[in-house]
């Protein structure tokens, strides 16, 4: 089992979700994160003084998948989330040892 983590633009969330759904992936967990990277945070003026807001808003999607699906999922996310502009984000793949379904207690493939 692998864990796929993707840091994406929130504006691409809908596209990623739809494209994953098309390849049969209908589950993941996501949350709001803040990014700091090549893309610089916006510079704004407040009461006459300039400052940058310190980060850019991003969404992180996490999903556990069977090994054989990793490539397809990673590609799907990449295509859906890409704009080609700096700031598109990353996909990170790592191994997990076990996933357990809290409801059924079954593990790994059958836990999905």
């Amino acid at each position: 089992m692998k864990k796929v983590e993707a840091i994406i633009r929130s504006s691409k969330f809908e596209a990623v979700k739809n494209d994953l759904s098309k390849i049969g992936i209908n589950f993941f967990t996501f949350f709001e994160v803040k990014g700091y990277g090549r893309q610089l945070a916006e510079h704004v003026v407040y009461r006459g003084a300039e400052y940058d807001i310190g980060y850019i808003a991003r969404l992180k999607i996490e999903l556990i998948v069977e090994d054989q699906n990793v490539k397809r999922i990673s590609d799907t996310i990449r295509h859906a989330a890409q704009t080609g502009e700096i700031g598109d984000g990353k996909i990170i793949i790592s191994a997990i040892e076990e996933i357990v379904s809290i409801r059924t207690g079954s593990i790994n493939e059958s836990a999905l």
Binding site: S10, F13, E14, E32, L59
Partner: protein, 413 residues
């Protein structure tokens, strides 16, 4: 002093009605601020409906039940027919109330009062009562219960004859709301998780700015509530009422601040807002009769009552999210008795009034709510309570984008 022109008196009472109106926004925001976020829409919705139902039922029935006319002087109950019937010509104008206000002015000022007592209940029962049964109760409460006891005093009934004094409604409005609230929270039970084996587990309000707006707007409206209860623009009386009302409120907030600091070592903002309101409720029964000095004492005692009362109701496991019973019931009773102590000097009629109105209101509310409880049910399911009433009753969230973003729409590139 020369006589005050009818038009000036009338204008002041109309403006006062407008001010009492804004108290409904005060209640709505105070209560919304002191409940959990997940029940915010629900409490706002209720407060809107209470006002609307209150005005319509007071139009239909309440006004003529509360002011049935001179035929029922000294009586217990009277009714002069459904709806409004404008006395023709000057009979509905100067002659209606000795050159003080017109028939419609009387109605609108009184109607604005009526719904306030139901708003008091809504805060206490927040976060767990079913919407429709609550609205049913409110309708009956404003339509029947409030006007009946109101008639006993302001409608010229038996308590008036007895010499009971309640200038602007410490008892007739506030403790009536408070007794209704008490009956309701007894029957409803506490919010899940409030009273644990380990003791009281506070469920903090979710928006202090909102609660503060509420308390200030209530004070603002109280200028009309008390000032308008002079029922004329009499400069001496109205200005005295303004002074006693404000000093009472200020003293109430200050003693709550001091007492709760000494008692809990905490500068609890929600408590101080309750103290301010307690001061206002306390001063209301005698705002036209106290000296400024007495007003400070009466308000200060009301403010000192608040922290003890809040803890007391919690000890009894009577869960009141906004402190309505402490503010309106405890301080309402205190204010009414204070008239007997600092004002008229006659405590007995005050006691009789407090007890009689309390008993009638409590029993009325208890019986009506018990019937509702046994039939359609009073309390939402545990699941609804956990999820919150906003989502389950209204299918919406008070702060949509803040907590549950619509991600395709709320993006930042």
């Amino acid at each position: 002093m020369t006589e005050i022109p009818f038009v000036t008196n009338n204008l002041w009472v109309l403006i006062a009605a407008m001010m009492v109106f804004i108290m409904h926004l005060g209640f709505a925001t105070l209560e919304a601020g002191l409940v959990q976020q997940k029940n915010t829409v629900n409490i706002l919705f209720k407060n809107v409906m209470i006002l609307c139902i209150g005005l319509l039922t007071y139009y239909a029935v309440g006004f003529n039940l509360m002011y049935p006319g001179s035929d029922y002087t000294g009586g217990f109950l009277g009714f002069s027919g459904f709806g409004l019937t404008l006395p023709e010509g000057v009979a509905g104008l100067q002659d209606y109330a000795d050159g003080k206000y017109s028939y419609y002015t009387d109605f609108i000022f009184q109607a604005m009062f009526a719904a306030t007592c139901a708003s008091i209940v809504s805060g206490a029962v927040a976060e767990r009562i079913k919407l429709m049964p609550f609205l049913l109760f409110v309708t009956l409460f404003v339509m029947i219960c409030y006007p009946v006891t109101g008639m006993w005093k302001w409608g010229g009934g038996w308590l008036n004859t007895l010499g009971f004094v309640d200038f602007a409604g410490s008892t007739l409005v506030h403790s009536v709301g408070g007794w209704g609230a008490l009956a309701a929270i007894i029957l409803l039970g506490a919010r899940k998780g409030k009273y644990t084996e380990k003791g009281v587990r506070p469920i903090p309000g979710h928006n202090m700015p909102l609660a503060t707006i509420g308390a200030f707007l209530l004070w603002f409206g109280w200028f009309g509530f008390n000032g308008g209860s002079v029922l004329s623009a009499d400069p001496g009386a109205v200005s005295l009422v303004f002074v006693t009302t404000c000093l009472g409120a200020a003293a109430g907030a200050l003693t709550t601040f001091v007492v709760s600091y000494l008692k809990f070592k905490s500068l609890d903002h929600s408590m101080v807002l309750n103290g301010l309101l307690g001061g206002l409720v306390g001063i209301t029964a005698g705002a036209d009769g106290f000296t400024p000095g007495s007003a400070i004492i009466v308000g200060a005692i009301a403010g000192a009552i608040i922290p003890f009362s809040v803890v007391f109701f919690d000890k009894l496991k009577l869960d009141d999210p906004v402190g309505a019973t402490s503010v309106h019931l405890a301080c309402g009773v205190w204010g009414t008795l204070a008239v007997g102590i600092f004002g008229t000097g006659k405590l007995i009629p005050q006691l009789i009034g407090v007890v009689a109105i309390g008993a009638f209101t409590f029993i009325f509310a208890y019986v009506v709510l018990l019937i509702i409880k046994k039939t359609v049910g009073l309390r939402v399911s545990e699941e609804m309570e956990i999820k919150g009433l906003d989502l389950t009753e209204h299918e919406m969230s008070a702060y949509q984008n803040i907590e549950r973003g619509n991600y395709a729409l709320m993006v930042s590139e």
